[in-house]
Symmetry: C2
Subunit: 349 residues, 2 copies
């Protein structure tokens, strides 16, 4: 029997709040019956919706606040003026130990800024990173950073690797994950200076699993490594390019099946199987990006997500909490040899 | 009636050379009957293959050389020691005016280094960029740089925009192309410093068409702009991520159609339409990356391409030559106001 977990939810975040948040929680409750929820937001809109979801209502509390972070608001502004926002209160619940994790579908930049400010990074981690898992030919992999840090140095990339590695072990259940750095070629001399430096550091590090070296864009979908590490700029572009490509392919497929009567009949026969495929590549299944490296679990749901997608984001938060993910990061980062190479060499002599 | 064009081919470049190069040229001849070819490579292997292709033989010459650039060779080494290589001789043919364009499926780095060294950049262009076009929901777009320049400043990005814009007008036939800078968000304050600087410069530039601003990864497949401009690192990652995603989707689709007898029958009925789709997303159709910004046309074919793919790379070279693409770039780059903003302001007062 798994322990009871409390999830703090920003009831006002996302394009279809609070409805999607409530219905998402209701859905998550089916697969995780031991959950409790605290909804932060405008009681006047949250309460009536909650009243219609009997089972959810029994395990939920509502904490009223009028303040909401706007989706277009700059992170710095949200950080200053959003101290009583639904997003911030949900994060505070994690900070104060009242909740095991929080989930928001609101403004990404604001969530990152607030979570970093309130939860602080794990000692030894300079900056948090956004991570998410995705389907590959071999199963599932995790990629980070997906946009939290536009500029990264070698140390950041090494820290991201530690976090991604811990994520693969706890959430994906891999004992010895393979991990690689996203680059424009697999040869040692390729890419940005910080990538070559990070590769050298990782070759010397004693992380569980196997350091593959550099991977390229097509290795992401192939699943060449279980963990793909990159800076937030490239990671964001890779993620969104893949999303766009799936949409394009799906649309071409739709047009194909409508292009002739025979193809339409073919589609009808193949429909149940196609639905299964649809589920497999359904971005809702992969909804939920985690802000890794903080002293607390904060998950970002896609702003346009529906209840199913939001439920997946909650499941991800539950997985991270259950697997004591943060303890794993703390232990791993402590094991990294952070002495500068020169000192390490001198010590070896 | 279109004029006769001569294409110089590196007969030894690529995984399946010289066979693919010769059969690719033979195929290209079907759609472009006015072509002439010069094959650079080992006569002993090129000649027997050419002898079997009667029609091609009539319009072809073979220039023998023993030297071949190795696929793993570093660009700097190839540049120094590959002066008599098949790749270099093909480039020299363009430089000396003996050919209108050259195509190679060999070592990308070496081709870039040699082409830049031999052909030199157009005055006003600091660095050449790799460009290719690709399918979108709206039709076709062009993206650059795809990997020639890992680190780019704002001026490089502006020059890439001029080149991409000219490419869209000549190869894609768009009179007023829209163009955007690839970034991690559409808001003005997003992304790297050099992107914001390039955006400011482009807003003030007088290029044909419309500057859209920043685009994101998913805009590539959507076709939000006709031209997507980015540095070579992000461009390479976006391109390869899209390729990997298409492969993944295709494989999932294949498995789907085999997952039940009904789905298999459905597939049989839909097969002719599926073939059409296959053609539409066939990477061979989009084979051929051009090295833009040089005083001559050099096209890189994918190293693993087959004859169809190689024929497409030749077609791209033909399009660029026919549309006097380089003259367009020369004219456009001359129109750019390259004075620093301060001087420009002073002049306006």
């Amino acid at each position: 029997l798994s322990a009871r977990l409390t999830i703090a939810l920003d009831a006002m975040g996302g394009d279809h709040a609070p409805s999607v948040v409530l219905r998402g929680a209701n859905r998550a409750l089916r697969s995780h019956p031991n959950l409790e929820f605290v909804f932060y937001g405008r009681e006047g809109v949250v309460r009536p919706e909650l009243d219609r979801l009997r089972r959810l209502k029994k395990v939920s509390r509502v904490v009223h606040t009028d303040d909401v972070v706007d989706s277009g608001e700059r992170a710095s502004v949200a950080l200053r003026s959003g101290r009583n926002s639904s997003m911030r209160l949900a994060i505070n619940a994690v900070k104060d130990g009242q909740a095991d994790a929080c989930v928001s579908a609101g403004n990404t930049g604001a969530l990152m800024a607030m979570a970093k400010f309130a939860l602080k990074t794990v000692p030894g981690i300079d900056r948090p990173a956004m991570a998410s898992f995705f389907p590959t030919l071999r199963g599932e992999s995790v990629m980070l950073d997906l946009g939290a840090n536009v500029n990264c140095d070698a140390d950041n990339l090494v820290e991201f690797t530690v976090m991604g590695n811990a994520f693969a072990r706890s959430v994906l259940g891999l004992e010895q994950p393979s991990y690689g750095l996203l680059n424009v070629g697999s040869e040692e001399q390729k890419g940005h200076e910080e990538l070559r430096e990070a590769a050298a550091l990782l070759r010397g590090a004693d992380l569980p699993g196997h350091f593959y070296g550099f991977v390229e864009g097509d290795d992401i979908a192939t699943g060449t490594t279980d963990v793909v590490v990159t800076d937030g700029f490239s990671g964001n572009i890779a993620l969104k390019t893949a999303e766009g490509t799936v949409k394009l392919y799906t649309e071409f497929l739709r047009r194909t099946f409508r292009s002739s009567p025979l193809a339409s009949i073919g589609y009808l026969l193949a429909k149940p199987a196609m639905r299964k495929l649809g589920k497999r590549v359904d971005p809702r299944r992969y909804n939920g990006a985690v802000l890794l490296g903080l002293n607390g679990i904060a998950v970002k749901s896609h702003g346009g997500s529906d209840a199913l997608g939001f439920a997946h984001a909650i499941s991800l938060a539950v997985d991270l909490a259950r697997h004591r993910f943060i303890d794993t990061i703390r232990a791993d980062i402590g094991k990294l040899d952070r002495r500068p190479p020169a000192t390490a060499q001198a010590a070896a002599v």
